[in-house]
Amino acid sequence: MIETFSRKVATLSGAALLAAGAVLTPLGASADNHGGSEMPGKAIAFDRGKGNCLACHHIEGGQSPGNIGPPLVAMKARYPERAKLHAQIYDATTINPESAMPPFGKHYVLSPEELDLVVDYVWTL
């Protein structure tokens, strides 16, 4: 069953990625301009029903943050490789097996496209 399932998901996300491709490229490019406020990833990160990162992290500009996780600052210095940052947000338990951070990618709390946007945004923090 797992096999059929992954095949189906691969197909679906392939189609979705293709569709999103046109949108993604210009966004990726704008990730460098530190213009945090306009980035679509920010809205996803702040949305309580989506990323809800503020539940646990202080993020500049975010209201009433929790403190379960560390403040998200100096991300590019701390994560020179975007892939490492992606991995932390995709499934934090691969880095710390006892992490309390939800596996946003692995459990599809965010779609692959949303996750990419959030990583783009967090990388500018």
């Binding site: 189906k8 197909t11 996300s13 189609a15």
Partner: protein, 105 residues
């Protein structure tokens, strides 16, 4: 790494033709997807690993199918099946009980 994924995705998308998924959708295929979702949900439940909204999604998929919204029904069924699979795997990965280190003193 990311580039590679994108390339694969592109190739896959091209090979299949992105719109093809919706073009070939018929009620039988959607019904099969809903049944598969229901099986996956039950499998997760059998190990106490069912997620909160999976059953709701299946119910909604059935309703969409009945009303003729095939693409929407297919989406919901696919997500529900994935949730069932993930909930099942989540539990299977924890079959062996381990006391977390954060409480070891």
């Amino acid at each position: 790494m990311r580039n590679k994924t994108v390339i694969y995705a592109l190739l896959l998308g091209l090979a299949l033709g992105a719109p093809l998924a919706s073009a070939s959708l018929d009620a039988t295929a959607v019904q099969a997807a809903i049944s598969a979702a229901e099986d996956a949900r039950k499998q997760a439940a059998s190990v106490n690993g069912e997620w909160r909204d999976t059953a709701k999604k299946i119910k909604e998929a059935k309703k969409m199918l009945a009303e003729g919204y095939l693409a929407k029904a297919m989406d919901l069924a696919t997500v529900a099946e994935r949730e069932g699979e993930l909930g099942y795997r989540q539990m299977m990965a924890q079959q062996e009980f381990e006391m977390p280190a954060f409480i070891k003193h």
